[in-house]
Amino acid sequence: MGTLNITVIIKLEPDFSEGNVSYNPDGTLNRAETKNTLGPHSGIAAHAAFFGRVMYDAKVFIVTMGPPIADLALQQAQQISDAEELHLYSDRLFAGADTLGTAEVLRVGIEKMPHKMDIVFSGHRASDGETGQTGPQTAWKLGFTFLGNVISYSVDLETRTIRAKRLISLQGSPNVVEEVEAPLPVFISIDPTYKSNYDAVSQRLAFEKYQKEAIQRAQNFKDYLKVFNAKELGVDETLVGLPGSPTIVYKVERVPKSTATRRAEVIDGTDPEQIRKVVTKMKEALSAMVIK
């Protein structure tokens, strides 16, 4: 039986929860007024890593690329996953990177880790950028087998293989759960519906033990934090940040108001008589379609 080393890639993102998020009057996000937090999909990836901690006594490492304040997200992820090291890749040179430029920093960082990784987890997508590209791109750069949309997994430490279930949803087809097997190392992007199940008593005991440890560690997260700049990582500066990014954001504009596709009849919602007429029309709509 060998050990299992897990890295989780996370991201500091706008906090979309009520009270923390701020929208401009036109409906767009007010970034200056919006607080930041560990991205929700990053959180799920951290839970998946914690599953490895509980089930296989794995060592967990967390990495992120971001500004110095991204240490907040590392702390939050440590509290979920009981990580023993937190790595922050932070340098002005990394700013403005697209997913390719970001993946390069993550690749270099993960290859420089003190241990060889067996599993790297990423979230499904960031809730602000929403591309979902950084995970698979990092996987490819690392040369790890990529498994996307994973909803559960188990590891055989003797054969060094992983079994994972993947949720595949395609246009016009029913959802499919595909079970796959692959030798380690693998890179997993976690599906939003991922759930950890701890059925046995021993697993629940381990869960509690590591959860306590995680809370303690997260209280002193700075003791576990290492910050690397471009030079310390030894990245090729032409492959990261703006120079390493094939794409640019050329323009951001308000979505033009669509021309009305329907002519709405405006009803006073406090008038029961008008509501009665609305329901009559709803009823007609339903029955008319049935006849058709």
Partner: protein, 393 residues
Amino acid sequence: MTEKYRHLYVIIEHEDGKFLPVSFEMIGEARRLLDDFNLKYSSNEKVVAVILGHNIKDISKKLIEYGSDVVIFADNPELKDIRNTIYTKVICQIAQDTKSLGEIEPEYAGEVKKPRYMFFAADSIGRHLSSTVLVELESGLASDINQLVIEDIEMSHQQKTGGTKETYKKTLKMYRPDFSGFLWTTILCLDNKNPAFQRDYHPQSCSIIPGVFESLKPDSSREGKIIEFIPTIDEEDLKVKVLSRQIIKSVVDFDTPRTIVSFGRGIKENPEQNIRLVENLAKELNAEIGVTLPISKKPYSVSQALDSKYMIPDRVIGTSGHKTSAMLYVAAGVSGAMQHVWGMKDSGFVVAINPDEDAPIKNECDIFIKGRMEDVIPLLIEEIKKQIQIVEA
């Protein structure tokens, strides 16, 4: 001078030989773009459909009928299951195969190195495949696109051009809606012309949201070239074994019900109570419940039961979720962001409940009930109880 990059490659998706609609939609858009392109630039670049799988030769012709000029197919038992590693490798082999590029246009054989543009589907397969392919090809990718334009762009960019004015010819402008649905971002994939770090970034690539573009009517008289590509299969790239595939029933069903009731951020004043109201309304109408994208990001704290049941991506109606054509669509507290509208606009009869008459949803509904959902829904429920008897199917 011949350019090193020509043609638009479309990565086709199919399940055991049955094409996904998005495949034809991508070809349709590619056809429209390249017809304009060829006219504008007096050129003759091709729409090239790329299809991988096993026993697929016979179905390739269909891709011509739907608007492709060329089909490149790779047929191998190892390509039966869609596995990221081997699919990425084979697609990259095809994209860099100068032999097939030469067959497409013999007059330029040997000169063309790679496709100019590449399209993938923004779904469970194409999203990841596009990411890995573009790392291997060392170029740029934009995801979840819903509009495309090809233009010459003159620009000065600190990093891309070193601050001097340059013209980027035949640039694919890739539009994607942002998470709020109110902003539209144009992404460009541009060569670095800056002398400090010059680099070519081709193909310009994107993943396309299924259901956005129209496919063409198939025309069996259309002619095209079908090219077989023999892939190099390396054992190392076959590490993933597919053990089983099981169809599962989604807990959310937007296809069968005649009515859908959806809610958005308008629940904010009392989220728990308002979701309960929406639940009750849906129950009276025997409706499925949908949500807007922001709701799936769990913006409000509500009881665990409601949170895990409703604030989930599976219920999202819109470009990043489902498209519906319900007979009756009730949008409660939904502002009408473009990306939501796309998912519901094909519905039969649309009723919106919103206190703000300037909300864009007003342009997309048949009846706009002006008012807060807290006030309106109880009245609606009362009236529905009197008027409508839903017989469960």
